[in-house]
Symmetry: C4
Subunit: 196 residues, 4 copies
Amino acid sequence: MSKNRLEAFSDGVFAVAITLLVIEIAVPTGEDLWHQLKEEWPSFASFFVSFWVIGIIWVNHHGVLDHLKRADRWVLYLNLLLLMTVVFIPFSTALLAEHLKSGADEEVAAVVYSAAFTAMGLAFASLWTYITRHRAALGVKLSDDEVRRTNVVFLIGNPVYGIALVVAFISPAAVLVINGAVAIYYMVVGMRSPDL
Amino acid sequence: MSKNRLEAFSDGVFAVAITLLVIEIAVPTGEDLWHQLKEEWPSFASFFVSFWVIGIIWVNHHGVLDHLKRADRWVLYLNLLLLMTVVFIPFSTALLAEHLKSGADEEVAAVVYSAAFTAMGLAFASLWTYITRHRAALGVKLSDDEVRRTNVVFLIGNPVYGIALVVAFISPAAVLVINGAVAIYYMVVGMRSPDL
Amino acid sequence: MSKNRLEAFSDGVFAVAITLLVIEIAVPTGEDLWHQLKEEWPSFASFFVSFWVIGIIWVNHHGVLDHLKRADRWVLYLNLLLLMTVVFIPFSTALLAEHLKSGADEEVAAVVYSAAFTAMGLAFASLWTYITRHRAALGVKLSDDEVRRTNVVFLIGNPVYGIALVVAFISPAAVLVINGAVAIYYMVVGMRSPDL
Amino acid sequence: MSKNRLEAFSDGVFAVAITLLVIEIAVPTGEDLWHQLKEEWPSFASFFVSFWVIGIIWVNHHGVLDHLKRADRWVLYLNLLLLMTVVFIPFSTALLAEHLKSGADEEVAAVVYSAAFTAMGLAFASLWTYITRHRAALGVKLSDDEVRRTNVVFLIGNPVYGIALVVAFISPAAVLVINGAVAIYYMVVGMRSPDL
């Protein structure tokens, strides 16, 4: 099975999900617009963080599928699992923004927001782990050593998403900072190891 | 006529429809968020089931078009018919979720939800049947025997969608279970017959 | 300039516009769902007609661009003009559905709905006319005779869209029938002249 | 790293953002529809201007990536930055339309609208500048002279977007005219220098 349509479909889902983030930001009406826009900072901040998290996951997804010659059914299904968590992000982002704004139960919203990223990280790790374990069948040319080094990079996001999940109970806004930091980490690592 | 744009357009529609599912989940505001999220289980459950049904239909669509060398007008039109039913699913999903939540007329909503999947199954069957009957013209290299075996797989979803349509009158929530089971069936079958 | 990205972008816009049609259908809540769904017939009918009009325009767009070897800036701009009219259709569709339901000023809504299709037909005609007049530069291999025959087919939609625009003032619901008939006409013609 | 998926993902985001513009136009209900539609002119005017600005940016983006043989991580990240500003435009467009309609704080909305385009122009300039400074590594075959001439074209939008940002404080509606003029300028320049 060729991987072209897998990429096309995934790119489509990533593109729609990343664009829908903005649809969830309520358009303020009426007077005092500066003030209203300032009050909306949680919407802009969570839009910003979620945009970059999805963007970086797309870059890494790109990097992973580049290694594949062909896809099997498990790759399709694990990829669908990953896409399901990506599609969920506009919801969790709007939920966090809404509750950071109102101040009501913001810890709960931050837990859901972090849990969504944790699920995304785990789905990505499953896809990556499956691919590295079936390198021969999928036509992946990576040595054991390369896999080991890449594992460290791709899987390190997960404990950090987990930490964000715990921090959510204490400081909901810190969750944005931690998840934004994971995105920056991947950007920096990606630039240093261009073959990822 | 080449099939590249047919695939690109179809992938786009599948990608948008599968991502729009989440847009229909209302973002709860205010206090008691844990409780509200628990009350929203029908939204999450129907999002989950519809995501996998669309995802698996996309995988099977992929499998079907892979056999084609070229497309004719009937393929384009039957494919549009299939896409119309796919595009309808975010609506039927939101309808079911809404009525499972409120408890009002949930049987009716479950009937609409099942009818949408039944229509999708029939549209898929029409496309598949047309393709197998015009193998020479479309450049499909499948023996009669392969077609017969694949028919069983591709068409078995239809009676089950039909059963879900009847069950909807009795137990609306069971509809989610049955349709989820069809998706799982196709996942398992797909893994066993990788050439589908 | 290659035409690949022109096709990819156009397919994306067509795919999003055709899927957004369903987002504009309000999800009925509460009791009496059968009755409510029956009352919503204008939403379903206009969704249905608009889906097929966009779908057929996509098929014809496909047919037109297939002739091109390369695109120039005018092709890009006239294509953008066409896409602008396509993007507008979810709005005009929702407007017609809303006013057919309430019965308030339905003629005005039907005029806007027809005007949107008329604009789409004119944009398509402009793109097609430009391409046929610059066949050498765009690498189109069509004889004068083929162009003349295809002109009849591609341009006949326009007077009919114009007639629908007039009929809108008298019978708003008839507008759906006329525009649906244009889509069917193109489906039938397309099947008879597969090289279009 | 190949640039295919970069283009596919970017085209997807452009396509979704340009189509979402129409979703933000409220569908008027009830009587006096002609009057209501006339009152909605700011929605139509800003839809129109934003559609063409995004459309022309897509054409120019197309032109820029056509020069590349391959992409590196910086190209991916600067491209994501550009896409983030594009994704924001349906929000700033709806904000301007809303406030031009109500007349409340329209200057503030016009400032946000212009700022969004200014940010888009700067992101585009960053991407273009990075690419021209790393021509060898990215496989770009442009002479210093060609880069200098193209710089003038690609970067001239920025001061004009900046002027619109200042004009916004005085005449909010003029902002639409200025930004529309930038789009027209790029259309005319693009037709004169087809190799861009």
